[in-house]
Symmetry: C2
Subunit: 181 residues, 2 copies
């Protein structure tokens, strides 16, 4: 079973080592981890002339479409929400009607994180914009997609220094996928 590994892990200091680590953990659960950094078999020759960013985007779309499930690292990234590239990929996989799993190393409710970020206590931020508060882990489209797709979400809090290291919640996703095979 091929599992696409969505997440801001590609921005870590040694992204290739991170991808190798995540795919090796997938293998422990009998899963083939597919990283955004993987080469794409049969990539069209004309893509070579494109700007790198567009080539990466199309390649990642193709990788997702080649997978049976998606596992997303939803640990908050530069703001109260997950990385937008990761969330794009969840939306893409959801439209393909395949299971989406999510994990995060921050277990605080989304509304708490957003209030902390905005420096407010109430229902709106300083601009008067509503703070979404449904008791979920992030924007409702994310958890809505995970649930509707038959996936699952796992989170845990960890020390700040372990935020981009800890993999227990990731392993919970893989265990859930492995159990459903």
């Amino acid at each position: 079973m091929r599992v696409y590994l969505a997440g801001p892990d590609v921005f870590l200091p040694d992204p290739m080592a991170r991808a190798a680590l995540l795919t090796s953990v997938c293998a422990e659960y009998g899963l083939i981890g597919v990283s955004p950094l993987d080469t794409l078999a049969g990539e069209p020759a004309q893509w070579a002339a494109w700007p790198e960013a567009l080539r990466i985007a199309r390649r990642n779309e193709a990788h997702i479409a080649s997978c049976d499930a998606l596992v997303a690292n939803l640990t908050p990234f530069r703001g109260p929400s997950a990385d937008v590239g990761t969330v794009f990929e969840i939306g893409f996989m959801r439209a393909l009607e395949r299971p989406v799993f999510g994990w995060s190393n921050d277990a605080r409710p989304f509304a708490d994180r957003t209030r902390h970020f905005a420096g407010v206590c109430g229902a709106v931020d300083a601009d008067g914009l509503l703070i979404e508060d449904f008791g979920l882990a992030d924007n409702l489209m994310i958890e809505g997609a995970i649930i509707a797709s038959g996936g699952a979400f796992f989170s845990r809090d960890c020390h700040a220094g372990e935020r981009w290291v800890e993999l227990d919640a990731f392993r919970q996703c893989l265990q859930a996928i492995s159990s459903s095979m």
Copy 2:
């Protein structure tokens, strides 16, 4: 032609009035604007028993699937990137292979916004995580999808007080869709 209006506009102080405004502007261009706040014709009766957040998520997915194109308000939202709910919806529409248009009231490059947010000048943030820098407006999956789908992205800078008011870039999206009909 039905156009889904993705954006954090649903968090504005009077979201129904905002939706009415955006759909009335769509009508000027001969387009039917579909808001996330619209009711869903033929919504399954069993959804009534679901938690509101999940009902909203499924309803929005159904709205997107019923549209011919998507127009996303990508004005940065609580961080250097666009609202994650909006970006989820772009990914969803992209997988349906229909055109995605984006607009933003912040014309700064994504890398500049991210460095400003992170308080750094270099290639990485304080945690050592890479600052994506391809000269794009936001994460590459977003602009990659817009270009690959045959859509377009428009942005402009405006005064801080006009950030959630100004609609010139939105109108540019509608004009582009209207011209392609």
